[in-house]
């Protein structure tokens, strides 16, 4: 029989290699999916224990203003009001993004529309370096520079939501900027050229054409910035003052979900109400992160239509 004919009909080294390749890559990817699933399952099951095991009321948890899980209130229920931390987290996030957005858009516009090739590369490196600075270093600078600055020039102890927002502002700036740059670059060249050819000034072109057509991309960038700010732990924890009370001003000591978590997990005993309540905070963080993800997807879908 024709040996080539026979070879073509039987399996070979290559078919075995390909099977091996499939097994390896599918295993790796399955492992990652498993990790993500277990993170959700474990954190969710711990986080739900507060409500199912310790019978705390979910609504009270979200809206209660008193956080002191190891103490009980007049009705004998543990004080599990998470609103101060939720408010703190949203406070620093929103403020940080409010500060960062104009800077990010300005820098991105400079990089894509104004700068020379060299200027663009310099700013590109600046952005990359800002991303690279570890969050504890941001926290340390916040402690040694921003907190005293706020104390001496604005008021209060220096610890609080305002200082936290300043630190987060610098931390989310590179994220928002580089994603804004990407979306500005995606604007077709002829849009810009058509506008300039019609006699519009550079600014009119930027404002009326470029920014309009990249709105959804910029929005995505901002959401990503919010996600990063919301989840940041140590840098904020170092400057916010860590008082689990409702923030009364931007200058008073406050706390965020992440800061209470980093401080508390080590000081509570596994399985106690106090510990379970912390896991519930972690669950909120997890869900918020998921929420930001979904929003980004929705914007992306809308932007494509």
């Amino acid at each position: 029989m024709d040996p080539i004919k026979k070879k073509i009909q039987s399996s070979s080294r290559e078919t075995r290699q390909d099977l091996l390749g499939k097994v390896i890559t599918y295993t790796c990817i399955a492992l990652i999916v498993l990790v993500v699933l277990s993170i959700f399952v474990f954190v969710a099951s711990k986080g739900m224990a507060t409500f199912f095991v310790n019978k705390a009321n979910f609504w009270d948890f979200l809206t209660g203003k008193n956080w002191n899980p190891s103490m009980v209130d007049s009705k004998g229920k543990p004080m599990l009001g998470a609103l101060p931390m939720i408010a703190g987290s949203f406070g620093v996030t929103i403020l940080a993004v409010l500060f960062a957005t104009p800077f990010a858009i300005g820098t991105a516009l400079y990089m894509t529309e104004i700068a020379s090739h060299k200027g663009e590369r310099i700013l590109q490196s600046v952005i990359e370096l800002l991303v690279g600075i570890p969050s504890v270093v941001y926290g340390f600078i916040g402690l040694s520079v921003i907190v005293p600055f706020v104390r001496n020039n604005i008021g209060g102890s220096g610890y609080g939501i305002l200082s936290g927002s300043f630190v987060l502002f610098v931390m989310v700036l590179p994220t928002v900027t580089s994603m804004t740059v990407d979306s500005l670059r995606a604007v077709p060249r002829f849009y810009k050229e058509a506008s300039l050819a019609l006699g519009a000034t550079k600014w009119q072109t930027i404002y009326k054409v470029i920014l309009r057509s990249s709105t959804s991309g910029i929005l995505t960038a901002i959401i990503f910035g919010m996600a990063r700010a919301f989840g940041e732990a140590l840098a904020v924890q170092m400057v916010i003052g860590n008082a689990a009370v409702m923030p009364t001003s931007l200058l008073s000591s406050a706390s965020t979900l992440t800061s209470v978590l980093t401080m508390g997990i080590g000081n509570t005993v596994m399985g106690t109400v106090a510990n379970n309540a912390l896991w519930s905070l972690a669950l909120i963080l997890l869900l918020m992160s998921l929420f930001f993800n979904i929003v980004v997807r929705l914007i992306g879908r809308k932007g494509r239509m």
Binding site: Q17, G21, K22, T25, Y26, I32, P102, I133, P134
Partner: protein, 295 residues
């Protein structure tokens, strides 16, 4: 004329904003380096830290950071490589792939403190591994996996399909085409990504506080038997890293020279991250040049 003036003002505001961002970075770097570098000495880099007295160093923490980074890369690189190859070469266009992609996206945007807490729950408590280098390395792996996977996928995708066809047309299996032809050509991008990721891992603290722990036990640099509790290589010992150390002394440090130690440690951290950045560029460029045979 009004429109022209408006244009001029707007463009100048944009310029000023961009300049401000540069100033912010210069200020940050300047502040850290100026206040930190004077504290860096051979003694500072090599001696043990002090809890209550001044004059402590960061020797153990520095070693822990490097060791943890290496372990993390050893665990996360092969997995990301497999996952990256899957996504760029094998992934069918179906719902399973989109779920996988979403999972990776979600993992990459999870707050690192949540990843750390999960590591704490599963490895430190459930598997009774305690605060240990291994728990820390696994937590950092979770943190590093999505970034590395995406980087590897993108680098592989950047290799033209022509090269895949070349391998396939010679009767090579898909697996060998990918590993022996496509992967070497994607290497500059992959290595750049790994090194940049290493910089991030090196500075990460939130995921480590409750996994690798916050204490730097005294280790004996004369003992390299990984099964000995005092050995630097021991996987089960708690290991405070440089980044965690900075956080710790600022949150609850009681030594009199806390701010000097943090300044010095921050400067070391920044310098290492800068070196990683520069290194990533150099190695990426030179590999690329070697690959494309341009001198």
């Amino acid at each position: 004329m009004k429109i022209k003036l408006q244009n001029k003002i707007a463009i100048n505001i944009i310029r000023i904003i961009a300049a401000l961002v540069v100033v912010i970075l210069l200020f940050l770097l300047g502040d850290i380096l100026i206040s930190g570098v004077p504290h860096i000495s051979w003694h500072f880099l090599t001696s043990a830290s002090q809890s209550f007295a001044s004059g402590g160093g960061i020797g153990v923490q520095l070693f822990n950071s490097i060791y943890l980074l290496l372990l993390t890369l050893i665990i996360s690189f092969p997995i990301s490589l497999g996952a990256g190859i899957f996504l760029s070469e094998y992934a069918p266009k179906n719902i399973f792939t989109s779920i996988v992609r979403m999972a990776i996206e979600v993992l990459s945007s999870l707050p690192s403190v949540v990843v750390g807490l999960f590591g704490f729950l599963l490895f430190v408590v459930q598997f009774q591994m305690g605060f240990s280098i291994l728990s820390g390395a696994i937590a950092l792996t979770f943190f590093n996996l999505p970034l590395l996977t995406r980087n590897i996928e993108e680098s592989l995708r950047a290799v033209p399909d022509l090269q895949r066809e070349a391998g396939m047309a010679l009767g090579l299996s898909k697996w060998r085409t990918v590993t022996r032809v496509i992967l070497p050509e994607a290497l500059p991008g992959i290595i750049t990504g790994v090194v940049l990721g290493a910089g991030r891992v090196f500075g990460e603290a939130a995921a480590l506080i409750y996994t690798a722990g916050q204490s730097a036990t005294n280790i004996d640099f004369g003992n390299w038997n990984p099964f000995n509790a005092a050995s630097p290589l021991n996987l089960m010992r708690p290991a405070e890293t440089l980044a965690v150390h900075i956080w710790k002394i600022n949150s609850e440090g009681v030594m009199p020279d806390a701010s000097a130690v943090s300044a010095g440690a921050s400067a070391v951290l920044i310098i290492v991250v800068l070196l990683f950045n520069i290194f990533a560029r150099i190695i990426g460029n030179s590999l690329y040049r070697k690959l494309t045979a341009t001198k």
